[in-house]
Symmetry: C2
Subunit: 121 residues, 2 copies
DNA sequence: ACCAAAAGACTACAGATGTAACCGATTTGA
DNA sequence: TCAAATCGGTTACATCTGTAGTCTTTTGGT
């Protein structure tokens, strides 16, 4: 998924489900896109299976084809396997440093690390 | 950076510094690429500033323009800002679950999480 | 000194991405 | 009811990516 497509996905996730118009209202305001740009992106996301559409009267309702976390996890996996094939530690460290995390998220991550079987060196 | 480019970067990182021939030997063996494919990728990576070249005799020596971790961190940052703009927790959790980490890496991550200032909810 | 091998440079071309105009159908406000 | 706004669909086009052929120059071997 390319950057412009992520922008559209984020909007859809926020709305949970919305019409083309909602999307291009936002992309116009946020990025100055022409409506047709948003429409093209929506079509491509449907083609790729990231979005589903349902017709409502003369108009269409877009919604994510799968839960956001699944899509995100897929992207993360692509990065991991594309980029480093195994040497993930330092990258995770970097991401933890740069991220804003809530107390619950921190707790969950600590728990995961406790449970994590270390790999032999 | 696209998938094919990552493949080349990984080879260069492994060699630290190498000639075009080393790269296309590997890409031929691993992915069945024609030598020219590897050469094109090398050129593009130089154009984009990911690789530096130095001439050695009639030939060129390629090496990373910046430390691998910096390139990787950049890619991770792009994913974070492209994809989710803030809601990193569940993604990190996913990555931790899927990763193989050494004992040292686990320790470092635990330490980072200890020190991490939680964000207000 | 010559020729085959190898290096890098240039060119190619299909598919993906970023960005958008135009078009015909329909809804709707006046 | 009639024109304006809107909808989704189709088409466009420049750039980037994946993959590779060709050309010219260098060079190592004989």
């Amino acid at each position: 998924m390319a950057a412009a497509e992520w922008k559209v996905m984020r909007i859809i996730w926020r709305y949970q489900s919305c019409a083309a118009r909602d999307v291009y209202k936002e992309t116009a305001a946020e990025f100055g896109w022409a409506p047709s740009t948003a429409k093209t992106l929506l079509r491509r996301l449907v083609d790729k299976g990231y979005l589903q559409v349902r017709q409502i009267g003369n108009s269409f309702l877009y919604r994510p084809a799968e839960p956001a976390i699944k899509t995100l996890a897929g992207a993360a996996d692509a990065l991991l396997s594309n980029a480093l094939e195994g040497a993930v530690g330092p990258l995770l460290a970097h991401m933890v440093k740069k991220s804003k995390l809530t107390e619950e998220e921190l707790a969950q991550l600590r728990k995961l690390l406790e449970e994590h079987q270390p790999r032999e060196k």
